[in-house]
Amino acid sequence: MSVLVYTESEQGKFKKVALEVASYAKAVANQLGTTVTAVTINASDASILGNYGVDKVLNVTNEQLDAFNAKAYADVIKQAAEKEDAKVVIVSSSADSKYLAPLLAVGLHAGYATNVIEAPSSTSPFTVKRTAFTNKAFNITTINTDVKLVAVSNNSFGLVENSGSASAEDFAPAIPEFGVHVQSVDKASDKVSIADAEIVVSAGRGLKGPENWGMIEELADVLGAATACSKPVSDLGWRPHSEHVGQTGKPVAANLYIAIGISGAIQHLAGINASKVKVVINTDPEAPFFKAADYGVVGDAFEVVPALIEKLKAFKAQQ
């Protein structure tokens, strides 16, 4: 009976969230006095997982699974959980994992807790802390079923290195009929995605037009950050909807969220509340965002942002 963790990869390479959920699985396994088994799908080198507490890796290699398919991936993870007799299964809060996890919960008859931000406070009963009310509160939840499914909120637990090494085993599960078929994918492969990013640089209507986003992208480049935007900006078509952060857009749980020219409507704040440190740059000292921020600069974005880019470049050069 081990803890099973699904470690996501993209084009063979593990996502950062995979290492985070592996770290979380190790913490749970320590509490239960058991080991961690990871299941990977078309990942090229799983040995790194040993550094994050994984004892054994089930490697699935199958061309049919090159493109993500929620039903098939859920079925593969279910078969891995059954093979390992796993009583706790851990996934991330990426868009893909949140897509497959409800199907997996049904398949395993597992109680499912989402947006979990800490290791369990107790394993009997299995009790976790999760965010609720769009990050305006926390909910302490117990999972009552024999098999438990936990989705860990991105950037909540962090990476915890271990000195162990993982054994590897090839695993060839049965693949179900897909039902949903991918026709095309439209994705900027060279950009950091909001879900994976530790730092997000976001801008609003204060930027005055899409032609002014060059400095936002440059600031994001310097920080290795993802770019995002407020709702009016995506509604105006200045930036794609996939960058819209907020209640009806994407949630952001970054370590650092920099908001430039965004006043801080309640729906926007709901989407970024889970971020740890918030910096606001705005000309209006009365902007509501300053009440939610940790650090603020009252000033013109067109002057502050280029100057900040230069300061950060100098800082990076010294590191």
Binding site: P102, F133, A137, I140, T141, V279, Y295, V297, A307, L308
Partner: protein, 248 residues
């Protein structure tokens, strides 16, 4: 085409979030409840199917009598009929089981649910009802076309979007993009009057056990005041982010 739209009855975005009974229950005092925003996009898309392709639209909710005004609002927007499963929505899995029974009894071709509700944010109900009813499932859906029994959908993925094809019966987890926000409908007086006459069926729940239990709620610690940095001293901001916040 028979469409079922799942409607969550949720506190308005601007609501103050408080708890009662030793922080075990959400305090509804003074709270305005609304149709969950993600469900509202789905409901409007269902109206489009009804008007352009001749579909019937049923809305459903799991909850007590206090949720009926939200269902009536959906009827006023144009749904044909409503079903309320008469039980408290105790956890996502239990809600999904109740909804799956409604789906099986009604033989719906297309089920539209919001990708998540803005109260518990679980995002699990659409996928669970797909799993329980053995229907195809597309999550984070931002576009949906149906022709005969075939469907083409676009879904948002991390960093982009993906076009998929599938077939009915289908469950989608919908969100903004299914329709534009400017296309969302506000009930007019005629719609409100007609909604009073439309059927709102109350069905008793099936027996389920809660897979999860809410023990209590906590609120985040109060946040300290913002530290303001002069635009002429951005070295200080870099220093604070590096040495104090330790995020760069």
């Amino acid at each position: 085409m028979k469409i079922l739209v799942c409607i969550s009855h949720v506190p308005d975005t601007t609501s103050k979030i408080n708890f009662t009974e030793g922080d075990t229950k959400f305090d509804t005092n003074g709270v305005q409840f609304v149709i969950n925003p993600n469900d509202e996009f789905g409901l409007t898309r269902a109206m489009w199917f009804k008007e352009k392709q001749g579909a019937s639209v049923t809305v459903v909710n799991v909850g007590g009598p206090e949720t009926e005004p939200t269902l009536r609002k959906a009827l006023a927007i144009g749904a044909d009929e409503a079903i309320r499963v008469n039980t408290e929505a105790i956890d996502g899995f239990a809600v999904a089981k109740q909804l799956s029974k409604v789906i099986e009894d009604g033989g719906y071709d297309l089920v539209i649910a919001g990708r998540e509700s803005i109260d518990y944010n679980g995002g699990m109900v659409p996928g669970m009802i797909a799993g329980l009813t053995n229907a195809n499932f597309v999550n984070n859906c931002i576009s949906l076309e149906v022709e005969g029994t075939n469907a083409t959908a676009i879904r948002e993925i991390d960093g982009g979007k993906e076009t998929v094809t599938t077939s009915l019966p289908l469950v989608i987890g919908g969100q903004k993009g299914l329709v534009e926000e400017s296309d969302l409908r506000i009930p007019n007086m005629r719609g409100i009057m007609m909604a009073r006459k439309k059927p709102l069926q109350v069905v008793e729940p099936i027996a389920t056990e809660a897979e999860t239990s809410s023990i209590k709620f906590e609120k985040p610690a109060p946040k300290g005041a913002v530290t303001l940095v002069s635009p002429d001293n951005l070295d200080e901001l870099v220093n604070l982010l590096h040495n104090e916040a330790k995020v760069i």
